[in-house]
């Protein structure tokens, strides 16, 4: 598991039933593209987060295929519809097999 990988998510704690809410997600990750070279000229191997998903109560909100062109400390902003009370689950999948998760609960106002 890569060191110091920490998610940071902005999600509302409550919403009206059926409301579309704005979500902002950040995660600290180097996103080593595979293009950079060491001092001796050898390429530093690629090591990125290659996929990000958001689900609400098990249903898909967004599923992003990520390439090395996504900047270090990947950021995504998108919207989710909240039909009922439940959990927003955010998942990041690393090239090295690690999986990072964060969960935010949403109540209905």
């Amino acid at each position: 598991m890569a060191e110091g990988v920490k998610p940071r998510v902005k999600a509302p704690s409550s919403a009206a039933a059926g409301e579309a809410v704005v979500l902002k997600t950040l995660i600290s990750h180097q996103m080593e593209s595979g293009q950079r070279k060491n001092a001796d000229g050898t390429a530093i191997p690629r090591s990125i987060i290659n996929r990000f998903t958001c689900e609400f109560n098990g249903k898909s909100v967004i599923d992003v295929k990520m390439e090395p062109a996504i900047s270090t400390n990947p950021y995504f902003e998108f919207e989710a519809v909240i039909p009922e009370a439940g959990d927003l689950k955010f998942t990041w999948y690393d090239d090295d097999g690690s999986v990072y998760e964060d969960v935010k609960s949403v109540t209905i106002a």
């Binding site: 110091g4 920490k6 270090t72 400390n73």
Partner: protein, 284 residues
């Protein structure tokens, strides 16, 4: 064919839009819709003979970059303040304490701290930067290993502490016991370094608002440090930046944590007295 080709090439070259010279823009910085940040104010008295107005570096950045600082969930530097909070709560060292053991809630105990550093430490009889004070606490009170001066851990902790002073004016003392250090810092600011023989003032006092190649020159204020630089996609401390600047003059640079940079940091901080603490800010 020869004439037409040359005319076409010339026409193309002329049509490339010119980079506009731009003074600081007119935007205002409100973070999270609630923290009003002063990014423009009257220059402090000690600068009265050289500057009328001081501006935060935020005012010299493109709109998209400025946006990144206006919401704590847009600001990539804030993840590192979060990591700083984890460190704050972590027990380390032989005394079995964390920062929280003595200081409690960071929001209360560290409020206003960033705004007055670097400052005089009476017991140690020296000017201290925030990093020096953090390490002193770690070694003396926690009996823990000090952080390496420009390490991620130190930078995360500085970011955490800077957050607690956001919106408060920078207010470092320049007289009394710190005066000699302040004078030394001022002399460094106006000394030309390197093959290119540039002083801080040449760019940041004489030419702020102009372009240096593709970069929009700011006044070189440090109210926003530690700052998340788009260029290296991580948080940078003041001493990192000082080293980069002197290296850019093609000169041999002082070290992070050196007495020269401590003095320079005190002086440069005082040039921003009145601007709001913004850290962690987002810059180029």
């Amino acid at each position: 064919m020869k004439f037409k080709a040359m005319t076409a090439v010339a026409a193309l070259l002329l049509s490339v839009p010119a980079m506009t010279l731009a003074d600081p823009d007119e935007d205002s910085l409100v973070i999270n819709g609630e923290i009003e940040s002063v990014t423009e104010t009257a220059a402090p008295a000690h600068l009265s003979d050289v500057l009328d107005t001081i501006y935060s570096g935020w005012r010299f950045r493109e709109d998209e970059t400025q946006q990144l600082q206006m919401d704590d969930f847009d600001n990539p530097g804030m993840i590192f303040a979060d990591l700083g909070l984890d460190q704050w709560n972590k027990v380390e060292g032989e005394a079995g304490k964390s920062c929280a053991s003595c200081h409690g809630d960071v929001e209360e105990s560290m409020k206003g701290v960033r705004a007055v550093y670097p400052k005089w430490n009476e017991a140690a009889q020296e000017v201290r930067t925030l990093a020096m004070q953090i390490n002193d606490c770690r070694e003396t009170n926690m009996k823990a290993e000090p952080y390496k001066y420009t390490s991620n851990q130190m930078t995360n902790m500085e970011a955490l502490i800077a957050v607690q002073s956001r919106g408060m004016p920078v207010d470092v003392a320049i007289d009394g016991p710190v005066q000699a250090t302040w004078e030394a810092g001022k002399e460094i600011y106006y000394t030309r370094y390197g093959q290119l023989e540039l002083s801080c003032a040449n760019c940041h006092e004489d030419n702020y608002g102009n372009m240096i190649r593709a970069d929009h020159l700011s006044q070189g204020q440090i109210n926003g440090f530690p700052t998340y630089r788009l260029k290296n996609a991580k948080l940078n401390q003041t001493h990192d930046r000082f080293r980069g600047c002197i290296r850019d003059t093609r000169g041999h640079t002082f070290d992070a944590g050196s007495p020269e940079f401590v003095a320079l940091e005190l002086y440069v901080a005082s040039r921003g007295n009145g601007l709001s603490v913004e850290g962690p800010s987002v810059r180029n």
